[in-house]
Amino acid sequence: MHTTYIKQKWPLYAMLVIPVFFVILFNYVPLYGVVIAFKNYSPARGFWGSEWVGLKWFETAVNMPDFKFILRNTFVIAVGKIIFGQVFSIIFALLLNEIKNKVYKKTVQTITYFPHFLSWVIIGGIFTDMLLTRGIINQLIGLFGIKPIFFLGSNQWFQPTVVILETWKEFGWGAIIYLAAMTNINPEIYEAAIMDGASLFRRIWNVTLPGISSIIVMLAVLSIGNILNAGFEQILVLYNPAVYQTGDILDTFIYRQGLLQAQYSLSTAIGLFKSIIALTLTLLANFLATKYTDYRIF
């Protein structure tokens, strides 16, 4: 029987060869470059010729006077984005799911996920203008008697501002997968709920949300891997010297130290550090999810 299986399916396996080859070539082979995190890398001597320095670069990074600020900022901004992004996407998907007019629904959906396709360089430029103290947003809130806020230039406002902007940009896109999950819920369950006299809110709470709970868990677990990804492009475009204290993140640090100062070993070390933390947390989250929700991703 085994042989017939192979005989039948071999074209599929053959088709897999190329993608697997590419994954090995582009995702695994470059991994050996990670060694430069433990070496004093000099391009002249190459990967293997450079001398070993152990954990020197990790120490250098941790001993940077601003490292703990940077780590904290990265963490706060990333967690803020994960929580806000998920919550808004779910609420938005729930609302959209209740709309029965198809044209209206599609229109709203298209408009809301459009910003996902724009680069931060563009959006950042627009928002820098809009968020000025004389900009349109401050004019709007000024109508309610609120004093102008210097969103991008004050340490209190910078982090909330970048989290909200990111949420605004991505919530429409994030809702797509939840909407797809909702279409998989058997309509008979809704009919039964209506027969039982459940209100709209009850139906959402007791039918829709449990129906997509496995997707929510999965996305939550996967997003834990992003716990130290605070969004390089966005921060690079929006941060400025006045908010270094709350706005500087690991990626901008790597950019300045690694690329601008050509400290390849140091930036590789920090990148590796990020990956190890992300991997650990993802595994942990998966473990917890398996334990408490009976749903495992891998």
Binding site: A44, P65, G153, P241
Partner: protein
């Protein structure tokens, strides 16, 4: 004549020191022409004593290099980067064949490729590294020291020019490329004006307010206040998030942020942590509070600031001379009657000002140890300069009388380009694509120097990224001269076309430029103008810590100016700076200076 000579000197050093160049029909024909025109006869021209500074290789040799050629660059007569009129000329007349290991579309790519070539042990014979790259290659023993090469092969003309250039750069000509007394690279020079920024001020607004161009800090403050009252929408001091405009008040306090300063006892200290900078910061914070500076400058990069300038909302703008193209060209067409002029560097209470130039050189041309014929490079340089500066009669006289050096090439009538009206080239405000001039040069024209000036473009050819600047900026001096004298006949080289094009675009470009040039050419000679005391490649601690220290500095300065930190934060910053690597860097910089 003295003046003329100085400008020749500036052109000489402006010309990328190394061969942007070529050679001549070896010896005989050239010297025959020479004899008949100058009448020196007996001695072979271009020589002093027995020694010849020119050579044709009978058995052609090959030199390898690399080039930066923009994608929009067009070659006349269908040539390529490797094979064109210029290279053919060299092959034929000098026996030098150039091979390009790569052609990069821009400087950044070129640097990457150079590092790659270095990493794989495959550097070309002649390279154009930055000073950081060069230091790296020298440390790995890849680069040929040039001291003996210059001594043995350079013509008196070149040696004289090097001397002049050293003087004009206050001794720092070779410093970035020197290690333990050995010179490893020729600096790629630009016109000195490229190394400092000008204070531009709206003189139409000054006229309306009935005040003169301010010269002292007190006068300037007065102007700022008046401007603030009369133009509440505008900001007196145009500041962006790099804080470059802080230089305007800093000059009056003799503070040199971001520069290395030599103190009275010969020690080198970092300008940003000195008490003078603190005083200037207090002043800036006061101005910010009074509304002379945009409250949101911290989120505005230079392009946003330029938008404000174009709208006519900025009184003083601190920038490179090329600001006449952007933002001012935009402003002139947008704001009717607007005008800008150069504001002198402000003097403080003691009537003095202090301005420091950026380190002068970054790029270099170096010869690798693998090169089999390094002397060919010097022959090429000799040939090219002789040919290129042949029409400078003052210089000819001087070289003959003082150094016994006869030019190889005779004075020759300059030719006009054929297609001037269609030409667009590589300078601020030029339209794309770049295109070469077609020249009507006679078949019997001797030497490559003229070709060099016609095909300024080819100077880019071998990766000599200083490229066309060498010609264009010699031309800049002549343009200022032409405006001053109201006489276009003094224009030289590319200056003719730039002058015509600027006149077409907006004559204000010329007058504003001239006001800037006039000011700096005088100011440059005063003792109020100095050079950065450190011009070496980054020290080890700089590589490791500078990123953090720069961030700390920018953050502290920005927040002090914005008032979100009190001025006492400056003292804390100084302590932090010293503690977190600053002291070590200062030590390394002083060691560097001792090792010169």
């Amino acid at each position: 004549m003295k003046r003329k000579l100085i400008s020749v000197a500036s052109m000489l050093i402006a010309g990328s020191l190394l061969f942007s160049a070529c050679g001549s029909d070896s010896g005989t024909t050239a010297s025959e022409t020479q004899s008949s025109s100058s009448g020196t006869g007996a001695q072979a021209s271009g020589t002093s004593g027995e020694k010849s500074y020119f050579k044709k290789y009978d058995e052609p040799i090959t030199l390898t290099t690399h080039a930066v050629v923009g994608a929009d660059t067009m070659y006349q007569d269908g040539g390529t980067a490797e094979n064109n009129a210029w290279t053919q000329w060299q092959k034929e007349h000098l026996g030098i064949i150039w091979k390009l290991k790569w052609v990069a579309p821009d400087g950044a790519t070129d640097q990457q490729k150079l590092d790659l070539a270095f990493a794989s042990g495959d550097l070309p014979d002649v390279i154009s590294p930055t000073k950081e790259q060069l230091a790296k290659y020298v440390a790995e023993d890849q680069i040929l020291p040039l001291n003996n090469l210059i001594e043995d092969y350079a013509s008196p003309l070149i040696k004289w020019a090097i001397g002049e250039a050293k003087e004009r750069t206050k001794g720092s000509l070779f410093l970035p490329f020197t290690k333990a007394g050995q010179i490893y690279g020729f600096p790629v020079m630009k016109e000195l004006m490229d190394y400092y920024n000008t204070n531009f001020i709206r003189d139409d607004i000054l006229n309306q307010m009935g005040v003169a161009v301010p010269k002292t800090l007190a006068e300037y403050e007065n102007v700022l206040e008046k401007y603030h009252q009369q133009y509440p929408k505008g900001y007196g001091l145009g500041m962006d998030n790099t804080l470059s405009a802080q230089a305007i008040p800093m000059a009056a306090y003799k503070a040199y942020p971001k520069h290395w300063v030599k103190t009275g006892n010969g020690e080198i200290v970092y300008g940003s942590i000195q008490p003078e900078a603190r005083e200037a910061l207090v002043k800036l914070a006061e101005w910010y509070k009074k509304g002379y500076i945009d409250p949101e400058f911290a989120v505005k990069d230079n392009s946003k600031l330029q938008e404000d300038v174009v709208q006519g909302n900025i009184l003083t703008y601190y920038g490179h001379w090329a600001s006449i193209a952007a933002p001012f060209n935009g402003m002139w067409s947008k704001v009717a009657g607007s005008n800008v002029t150069c504001m002198p560097n402000l003097t403080g209470e003691d009537g003095k000002t202090g301005v420091m130039a950026n380190p002068w050189f970054d790029g270099s041309r170096a010869i690798t140890k693998a090169c089999k014929n390094p002397e060919a490079v010097m022959y090429l340089l000799n040939e090219n300069w002789d040919s290129f500066y042949r029409n400078y009669t003052d210089l000819r006289e001087k070289m003959k009388n003082e150094y016994g050096y006869e030019f190889k090439y005779p004075v020759t009538e300059e030719r006009k380009p054929l297609n001037v009206d269609q030409v667009a080239r590589d300078y601020p405000g030029a339209a794309q694509p770049r295109q070469l001039w077609k020249y009507d040069y006679p078949a019997d024209l001797e030497g490559c120097g003229f070709m060099n000036s016609f095909y300024t473009h080819y100077t880019v050819l071998f990766g000599f990224t200083g490229g066309p600047v060498s010609i264009a900026n010699g031309a800049l001096a002549s343009m200022a001269d032409a405006v001053n004298k109201n006489d276009t006949s003094v224009l030289i080289g590319e200056g003719k076309n730039m002058y015509a094009e600027w006149t077409n675009t907006n004559p204000k470009m010329l007058t504003t430029f001239a006001s800037t040039y006039n000011y700096w050419s005088e100011f440059e000679k005063t003792d109020e103008f100095s050079a950065d005391a450190f011009s070496g490649a980054a020290t080890p601690t700089m590589t490791e810590k500078k990123q953090y220290l720069d961030k700390l500095e920018l953050e502290t300065y920005t927040r002090i100016i914005m008032g979100s930190l009190p001025i006492t934060a400056f003292d804390e910053f100084v302590q932090n700076w010293k503690k977190n690597g600053g002291d070590q860097i200062t030590k390394e910089v002083n060691e560097w200076a001792k090792g010169l």
